[in-house]
């Protein structure tokens, strides 16, 4: 039965990959990468149960905790064109 869950996640991975390849905008690709992270969490958790050794959830936990760092880097990149600054060059807030 775990295999059904794994199959569902694999199918969704394929769909997400299709979105990542097609784009069309770069944001669609980032969205695909970001939700791919969730799918990886799921497949790692499911696979642990599938093989009967569910002690390796730490790997899934890493993704749950730090998968959004990349997205935030992207936000900084688009806002300032630089990852180190913390205030916008022009004060108008968006």
């Amino acid at each position: 039965m775990y295999i059904a869950g794994i199959a569902a996640v694999l199918v969704t991975m394929a769909l997400t990959l299709a979105r990542a390849f097609m784009g069309p905008t770069v944001y669609d690709r980032i969205l695909a990468v970001n939700s791919f992270g969730t799918k990886t969490v799921l497949i790692i958790a499911l696979y642990g149960y599938f093989t009967g050794r569910p002690d390796f959830l730490d790997i899934a936990l890493v993704y749950a905790l730090i998968n959004f760092i990349g997205t935030i880097a992207v936000l900084k990149f688009f806002e300032y064109g630089d990852l180190g600054r913390d205030r916008p060059s022009q004060p108008d807030d968006i």
């Binding site: 039965m1 775990y2 059904a4 869950g5 199959a7 569902a8 996640v9 199918v11 969704t12 991975m13 394929a14 769909l15 997400t16 299709a18 979105r19 905008t25 770069v26 944001y27 669609d28 980032i30 969205l31 695909a32 970001n34 939700s35 969730t38 799918k39 969490v41 799921l42 958790a45 499911l46 642990g48 149960y49 569910p54 002690d55 959830l57 730490d58 899934a60 936990l61 749950a64 905790l65 998968n67 959004f68 997205t71 935030i72 992207v74 936000l75 990149f77 688009f78 806002e79 968006i94």
Partner: protein, 101 residues
């Protein structure tokens, strides 16, 4: 009792799988970036939640369940934050949302 738990757990896993796939289909079908964000959030919330809940029921009261709960809680903090950051980035990149009047 064990049988009942098993049955509930399978139902959770299967319906979770259904929502995960539905999110994936939406990601592919929806017309623009902002609408796709909503589809991705189906996978991230209910799909993930149900699958992890199903796994929790399988392992009962154990270390693995605790970790699954932690994964779920952290995902519920980080995934909307990522979606928010992404939407902001897209607005900043002058991506115009497709809006029906």
């Amino acid at each position: 009792m064990q049988l009942l738990l098993d049955a509930i757990s399978w139902i959770c896993l299967l319906s979770g799988g259904f929502f995960v796939v539905a999110g994936g289909i939406g990601l592919l079908r929806f017309p623009d970036f902002f609408t796709r964000l909503h589809a991705a959030s189906v996978t991230d919330t209910l799909g993930t939640g149900l699958i992890l809940l199903g796994l929790m029921l399988q392992s009962g009261f154990s270390q693995a369940s605790v970790k699954l709960i932690l994964i779920l809680v952290f995902l519920f903090f980080s995934s909307p934050t990522a979606a928010h950051a992404l939407a902001k980035a897209a607005l900043h990149g002058k991506l115009v949302p497709f809006v029906k009047r």
